[in-house]
Amino acid sequence: PRKERLVTNLKTGKNFLRNQDPEKAYAEFKAALELAQGLGDPIEEKKAARGLGASLQRQGKYREAIKYHSMVLAISEREGEVSGNTEAYGAIADCYTELGDLEKAAKFYDKYIARLETD
């Protein structure tokens, strides 16, 4: 069913990322995000959003990547469940660093660093 397709999309997306094919990875994560939203599964929704962010980063599309990494933070906010936030803060900061906006990068790294000691 849809849940299984979702899991397959996420797994295939990860493999494409690993094999340096971020365009194909993007398509898989995009499909996964829609399925996760349809199913109302916030954990998988975050994974898909993180995958989209990572795929865009690998393509040098840092502004778009920030949107998806920020979506992880928004889902956490909505659900009151912060898993994945440390990684999202770090990834957003990485993107701002690439864009040369070191002020904003520093702001997000500070949030990232503050969370490194928590679980």
Binding site: A93, T97, D119
Partner: protein, 88 residues
């Protein structure tokens, strides 16, 4: 702010190590791991990396802290770049 790129490089360095060790571990388990178990192993790898990086990362940021001076922060940065070969 000079230290921001070093934070990014150090994160990437540690993440490469984490992913390569994690893959080796997962390969030993094959397919007989539940999602919850995969999550536990992933959390272990992240927990170790994050807790080990916490000190160095904190010492790469000096704004707002009186006790840590800019020159000390830059010394930390240079030492980390040497020790983790992050110069490139």
């Amino acid at each position: 702010l000079e230290t921001v790129p070093t934070i990014k490089k150090l994160r990437a360095y540690a993440e490469r190590i984490r992913l390569s060790e994690l893959e080796k571990c997962m390969a030993k388990f094959g397919d007989d791991l539940s999602k919850k178990e995969r999550r536990a192993i992933d959390d272990l790898s992240r927990g170790i990396v994050n807790k080990l990086l916490h000190g160095p990362m904190q010492h790469l940021r000096c704004d707002g802290s009186d006790s840590r001076t800019l020159s000390e922060t830059l010394e930390n940065m240079h030492a980390l770049e040497r020790m983790f070969s992050l110069e490139l």
